[in-house]
Symmetry: D2
Subunit: 261 residues, 4 copies
C-alpha cells in the first residue's frame, strides 16, 4: 500500500543551536521509498551522514529566530505486519556477528536487571516468537499509556515502577525484556497509518530465525502500513531531533495518509 | 543554485533481467538533496543498498516487456566549481587511509602504464592543482569527443591510440594520468546544467591538500551546477545501469533545469 | 617503550556457554602491536569479527568443564600520556560525524542527568582539556576505590550516591560528566604497566581539538605505557568476556612487563 | 592442521619510500590465527588500517638504506580444500549486496571481454561448481607456468595471447572467466604448505551457493593447508608490498611448515 507521510516541526531559538535530525526514511525490507523531500524555512542546506545503524542523519546549526523543517515521504509499505508464531529463537552461536550488539543493555534498556521478570512473563510460552508476543502483551496490559508522565531520561527500569509511559517507553520495556532472554531487539521510529492521536511513533523489533519481526506494545493488535524512519538500540540512537542547546518546539504536525497510485 | 534534474530510461526485455541501477543522488559536499523520487512503470519496488563508495544502488529484476524508470532530483548545488591553483600535492604518507585506494590502477584506468606520459605532460607545472589542470587541458586538446567510437570495454590505454572518446573515456584518461603521479583520483557520474547535447555526464575529481576538486576534460572551461550521482574508481563502479542479461534501451531522456525557489 | 602483557583466564562451565571475548589488542594511535597470540586449553578455534568500534572480537562456545584462555601481546607504547592544557573544546558543528555518537548517554553513563554537576565541577576552568582534567580530579577525590562495592549493573549515576567503585565505575563517571558538557568521551580497556594491584584496567578518553586524550581517574598522576585493548561507549561495549550462560571464573592472572629490545 | 609460515623481505632504498604492506594474516572461515608477529630491522612502528575487503594493511615510510621486515604467523588451517561438485550457481537476484562487486571487471580481470571464451570452456558442464572446476582445469592446461614472462602490468587478457604466466596471472584468468559467467570471484594471496618452489602464492575463490570455494589453477590437484593473507578483486588490491618510489628487493624468503601442537 502507498503511504504518504509528513512531519512538520516549528522551532524558535534564542541562539544558534547545533542539531542532528533523523527525519529522512530510506528503503528497507518491506519498504520502498518512492519520493522523499525535506524543506526548511528559512532555506538552509544541511550535511548528511549515515550512522552505524544505516540511518541517514542531518546536521545543521539552527539559526536564531524561527525555523521550520518539513520532511515528507511517499513509500510502498506492507499493509500488515508479518506474524509467525513458529519463528523460533536463534541460539546465540548462530546469530550473525553484528546481531550480538542488540543483546547488550543500553541507556534506556537495562536488560541486565530484568532476567527474572522476563523469565516469569514468558514461562508458559515456547521459545521465540511466542515469548516476544507474550512480552508485548504483558507490556500492553501492565503499562498505562499517558502523556506527560515520562521524559527524555526515563528508562525501561523506571517505568517498571511508575507503570505509565508513552510509545518510546513501551518500546524500551519490550526491548529490555527480549534482551534479557537473549533475543536481539531494537527500536524503530517512524510513521504508523491510522495512529490515534497521530504523532511520530516508536515500536520495537525482535530478531527471530533469521529476520526482524515488528512488535508494538502500544496497540491492542498491531497493524501494518508503517514507514520505518530510524533504527537503533534505544531512543538515544534514534531521536528525531538532538539539540545541543535550548530550543522551543512551537508546533509539531504529523500526517499519514493512504495514497492511491 | 537550485537544480532540478531527471533521467528517464525506457527498456524492452525479452526475458527477466537482473539489474542494478545507480540513479539516486544523495547529499554530499556542496550538494544538498531537497527532493528525490524514483518512479517505474509498471510499478515495481526495488531493494536498495549502499556500496563501498557510499552510493545508493537499486536492485531489481526487470520484467519481460517494456519497463520505464524515471529518477528525478531537486538539489542545491554550487554555481561554480572550486578552483585553487595553490592547492598542493599531498605526500602519500599524509593521505587518509581510505584515499590510498584511489591511487591504484583499475579496470579502465591503467595508471601503471602511464608514468612517462604523465611526467611529460606535467613537467612544466607545479605539483598539485596545476599538474591536474595540465592533465585536464592535455586530454581536452588531444582527445576528440565523438560518439560511437568507444564502447563499454574501452579503457584509458585504448583511447591513447584512437584519440577519440566520450565523457567517460575523457574521465578515465584524466584519472589514469593523475594516479600515475600519485594523485588520488576518482570518477563521478551525474548531471551538468547546460551540457550540450544534454545527457548523463561523467567527469573526474582529484584529491589535493585535504579535499576533492572537480575536473572535466570534456569542457573548455568547466562549469558548476553539477549534481553528483555516483562515485567510484572508474566506470565499472558507477554504471547507471548494470544489466545481467539482454536489454534494449529504447529511449533515454535527460533534463536539467534551474529551479527558482 | 616495549611492553609485554598477558591475561590468563581460567573458567569452569557446567554446560556449553556461548561467549564473546575482547582480548586481542590491535595497533592504533601511539600503539604498534609487534606480536600477539591467543592460546586455549583444551585447544579450540574461534571465529573473529570486528565490531562497530574497530575492536577484534572472538566468538566461541565454551565447552563443559575447564577452559583456559591466555592472550598475550608485545607492543610498542608511549611511555607517557599526552597532556595538553591548551587543547580546546571542539564546537559540535565541527566534530566529525562519527564523533557525535560519543556525546550520547549510554547504559552506564547517564550524561543526560548530570548537566548541573558537570557545570559545577568545571565552573572555574577553561573549556576543553582543563575541564576534563577538573572532572578527572573531582572523580579521583570524591569516589573511593574499593573492590566489591559495585557490580555489572552499577552505573555512573549509581556511584554518585555510593561514592565508591572500581576502575570501570571511575571511567563511567568521567565519561558521563564529559558528555554532559558536550565533550565526546569513550571507554578504553587494556593494560597499564605498573598498576597496583595488577589487573585488567579501564579508563577513559576525551576528544579535544581533533584527537583523543587519555584520562585515568583512578590514578593520582596518570602514567603512560598502556596497551589499549578495546574501545566503546561504556562497559557494555568493551567487556573482556560476555558469557551467555553460567560460568565460574576460577582464576585471572594479568602480567605487564617492560621488554628490552 | 597447525601451519607456521613466515615471509622475510629485505630491501634497499636510496631515498625514503612510502610503502603499504599487506602481510598480516587474520582469522577467517576455516582459518584461526593463534600467533602473529611482525618485526623490522631497523626497528620501526607502522600505522595499520583495515581496507574495504577486511585486510589489515601496514603503512610505513621505508628509510634510506637497508630495511628488513619479517612477518610470521601460526594458524590452524583446513588440511584439504572443500570441494562440492553439487554446489550450484547463485542467481544474481539472490546474491548478497556486497557480492555484486565481485562480478565487475577489474584492472587485471577484463571479464567483459571473455563471455564467449567462458561459454565455450564450460559448455559441457553443469552450472556452478563444475563450471568453475572446468575453468580451473582449462587454465591449468592452457597456460604454461613460467617466471619472468609477465610483470605487474600483465592482465588476464594479455596472457590469453602469451599463454604463459605465474600464479597471479593464473588467478586473474580464472577470476575473469568466472565473472564472465556471472559467478562472483576474488583473488587470495597467502601461504600454501608444500608449494614448490616455496614462495608467496596467489589463487582464486568463487562464490557458489552461499559460500566461497577455493580454486588454484597452478596445481594439478589443489591442496589444503593454506593461510589466506589478503583478499581483493585482483592483484591491484592485494599486493604484499606497494611502494611509492624506487626500492630494490634484495631477498625474499618464505617458509611454511607444519607445527605439532
Amino acid at each position: 500500500m502507498l503511504i504518504q507521510a509528513s512531519c512538520l516541526l516549528d522551532f524558535t531559538c534564542t541562539t544558534q543551536v547545533p542539531t542532528t535530525f533523523m527525519l529522512r526514511a530510506r528503503s528497507g525490507v518491506g519498504q520502498f521509498v518512492i519520493k522523499e523531500e525535506l524543506h526548511t524555512s528559512p532555506f538552509r542546506t544541511m550535511t548528511e551522514f549515515t550512522d552505524n545503524y544505516g540511518n541517514l542523519c542531518q546536521r545543521i546549526v539552527l539559526p536564531e529566530g524561527n525555523f521550520r523543517i518539513e520532511s515528507s515521504v511517499l513509500a510502498d509499505c506492507m499493509p500488515t505486519i508479518e506474524v509467525d508464531h513458529n519463528a523460533g529463537w536463534t541460539a546465540i552461536e548462530y546469530l550473525p556477528d553484528f546481531m550480538l550488539h542488540y543483546l547488550l543493555p543500553s541507556r534506556y534498556c537495562e536488560s541486565d536487571k530484568m532476567a527474572d521478570l522476563a523469565a516469569e512473563i514468558t514461562k508458559d510460552f515456547k521459545q521465540g516468537y511466542p515469548q516476544v508476543e507474550a512480552i508485548r502483551q504483558w507490556v500492553h496490559s501492565n503499562i498505562r499509556y499517558q502523556y506527560g508522565t515520562t521524559n527524555s531520561s526515563t528508562s525501561a527500569w523506571d517505568i517498571l515502577s511508575t507503570k505509565t509511559g508513552v510509545c518510546r517507553d513501551f518500546a524500551h520495556l519490550g526491548i529490555s525484556l527480549c534482551r534479557a532472554l537473549d533475543i536481539p531487539a531494537r527500536m524503530v521510529t517512524g510513521y504508523l497509518y491510522g495512529l490515534k492521536p497521530m504523532d511520530l511513533h516508536a515500536w520495537f523489533e525482535a530478531y527471530l530465525e533469521g529476520r526482524w519481526y515488528c512488535f508494538d506494545a502500544t496497540q491492542t493488535e498491531p497493524k501494518g502500513n508503517r514507514i520505518n524512519v530510524a533504527y537503533g538500540r534505544d531512543a538515544a540512537d534514534v531521536a528525531f531531533a538532538s539539540h545541543f542547546g535550548p530550543v522551543v518546539l512551537n508546533r509539531m504536525e504529523v500526517k499519514v495518509e493512504e495514497k492511491v497510485m
